[in-house]
Symmetry: C2
Subunit: 500 residues, 2 copies
Amino acid sequence: MSEHPRSIIAGTEADEADVVAATSAAVEAFGAYRATTPGQRGDFLEAVAAEIEADKDAIVEAAVAESNLPEARISGEVGRTTGQLRMFASVVRRGDHLGVRIDPALPDRAPMPRADIRQRHIALGPVAVFGASNFPLAFSTAGGDTASALAAGCPVVVKGHPAHPRAGYLAAAAVTRAVEKAGLPLGTFSFLLAPGGQSSIDLGQSLVTDPRIKAVGFTGSRGGGLALVAAAAARPEPIPVYAEMSSINPVVVLPGVLADGDVTALASAYVGSLTLGAGQFCTNPGLLFLPRGDAGDDFLVAAGNAVAEAVGGTMLTPGIATAYEKGTANLRDVSGVRIVGQGSDGGEHAPAPLLLESPTLTGVTDEVFGASGVVVRYDDVADLLPHLESLEGQLTATVHANDADADDAARLLPVLELKVGRILFNGWPTGVEVGHAMVHGGPFPATSDSRSTSVGSLAIERFQRPVAYQDVPSGVLPEAVRDDNPWGLARRIDGELQLP
Amino acid sequence: MSEHPRSIIAGTEADEADVVAATSAAVEAFGAYRATTPGQRGDFLEAVAAEIEADKDAIVEAAVAESNLPEARISGEVGRTTGQLRMFASVVRRGDHLGVRIDPALPDRAPMPRADIRQRHIALGPVAVFGASNFPLAFSTAGGDTASALAAGCPVVVKGHPAHPRAGYLAAAAVTRAVEKAGLPLGTFSFLLAPGGQSSIDLGQSLVTDPRIKAVGFTGSRGGGLALVAAAAARPEPIPVYAEMSSINPVVVLPGVLADGDVTALASAYVGSLTLGAGQFCTNPGLLFLPRGDAGDDFLVAAGNAVAEAVGGTMLTPGIATAYEKGTANLRDVSGVRIVGQGSDGGEHAPAPLLLESPTLTGVTDEVFGASGVVVRYDDVADLLPHLESLEGQLTATVHANDADADDAARLLPVLELKVGRILFNGWPTGVEVGHAMVHGGPFPATSDSRSTSVGSLAIERFQRPVAYQDVPSGVLPEAVRDDNPWGLARRIDGELQLP
């Protein structure tokens, strides 16, 4: 067990004892932390953002060195991370996530009087967060899962990703400074890190099976996510796991937009999204449905040329590059698959981007993390729908359409809705806006729990549960549900929403 | 496979083929049913209520005969069931459960424009509902789980409880008449029933593991619920299970109320709640914490006397009566446990009510379904809190307190909040109001998923998930998220709630 006198942060050698120390401290912190007012909690989230900004240069330097991602991208990710924290602060201050409902007493109701019943949502308890490899900041130590759990009132124990230990540690130190300055218990936030490989897997399992942990946030591979889901389900007390796992993000190009638009520009934009950041996005467009015919052929040639000009970027880790090479080799071996275009490799662990065409979906629907895509041709929407219906759950689906495609698009929408968390038109799925309406989620296996999102303010509600208070005396009632509404919350009175 | 020409309703011999027929029909119905407008769906839910009322006499007769519950109770349950359907109809018409959020495009935002992003919640898909033994109507075929799933837009396949096949069948027939009159696909609702025992368990397993089923609602025993949770988690595509399972519903009597109140009346009211309906309620107050000292002694003597005067009611099934006898025998064998009072048995399968006192919680915290309670004494709140902290999750916690107890009550509240779904003061937990603020849920093992409730309008949200629409052309957008707001919904615009 490593020693960190002023906090529970454990360096690169965290072990079982650190897990117990961190989760025990989280339990001790829970009472005080969940009792913070909307103002106090909002202040704290903003302070976390400020502390990250105060150490931005060092964080960016560490993350660039550890991830091979360009400085502009990492710098932007810092902005995304701090913006997310500040947005969640504003949501917490408004307090709508508390979901207050009041059904006033009806003492004269016949045949039975109605009691006074009030509802609010409370925090679930300490949350384990698993940082992602591909977003060393925005989906990691102080990223979306951590920000939403803290916003909900849950202490957080982060298992840092071994691919970016220093960036994770610096972000954790920033959160811890904010915890200390706010006078919150140190157990409000802890950071644990193992050297990687089996020790990292073991640390994660210890964390998820610790009885003090009440929910899990995870972004990563399907194998990793499913292992945590299984561990959580096998606990004496099962807990929710929000694992964002795998997606090939189908894109449908409809005939009208091909007939009428700039096919070369569209193909080039597609390849731009496919190869962005070496294709290391959960929302990478790995599967594209293209009409048969001349315009589709033109698109394919243009896309092949664009891929041929692309140079592979250095991937996040050597292991990820190896998995990409293996995954693309498997795809190429699928019967009937042909290469549409192949880029050049960009040096060590920077494998070449690849675009393939497949006659069917058989064997080409498993996610290959990186800059590889598969094109499948179709005759018309009647031919396309069974393809879409056969897909597993996805984070996103993209439709390229113009006015001439309106009828086809309307037929696609209800099918796509049942498959994905986000449907977008005439854009590319890479780039996930942090907003109130965003859904970064979707049916299994895109995530382990489709009822939520890991990006956007709805994510806060994942880490809460409702509690009802029946005839509780006003002096004992929590502030959120008192008649005088001291926090100025929107409330549902007898089922009807009322603004403050 | 039984033949039911006009619907999928299968009589008392449903088998695997019926499961496939029902779930396939549910999938076929899903598109049309989830596309119903708030008005259409509200009309349908109200029609279900009307059809149940139209056959009320026959339903009550069947349920009384099958459940051994008194006619007044069953008649009240019909009212509860139809009232619940009508209330959910009103919620659906209002449409707040759709959770509409709109983040308008910001084309001029720097450095990157923001897309137009809209969110609504959609139905998960076909839901399997397992009727409960103890509420042949309100928690069964057309009960809360069915009503909330239908309100959410999910087709429902009910596995009827073998303890009340005729009442279940008649309720199912009423729902089916409403389906037909509304012109909805017959697969919107199906009812399956097995003779009981292993055949019933097998039917349930087939239903939960059918890939077309997307969520499960269950009310029943911990063993039964956990078996469904395990089956659902082991599916290739795991699905949510809302199992309401077991609870002993702790009651805390604080010293002030004992010192000042009518101890005999309080004890009598407690025994009334304990023995109501032969104690066959999920919310039966099975554990009571009582101050040591003279007033507590007086309460205990009065409660013992009240129990001694109570006569056992005929239980729902012979098996339930046998389980009660076994459970109370186990309790009596726990070291240090003594009998405070014992009633008389009321004939066959009508075992005697029983009140015990135990020096500790060891061995007395497993639910015994029926009219048995355990009293544990305490010195003061400091002595009481560790007891409460050691309890498993519960549906309810009850506090009896007066003004003199205010400080103690305030110390209890945050501890109880983390253990239960509903906290009530100076009442009894039996009797669960169907309202907007009700929570009939709680941490494991009270339920398998604490993030929801199985009673009240919040229950609708269990069967939904969010979907985001990014830059979707207005002609293709679902009505719920259109700018002109044709359904007059409350919406969150840029994070701010706006009423219609």
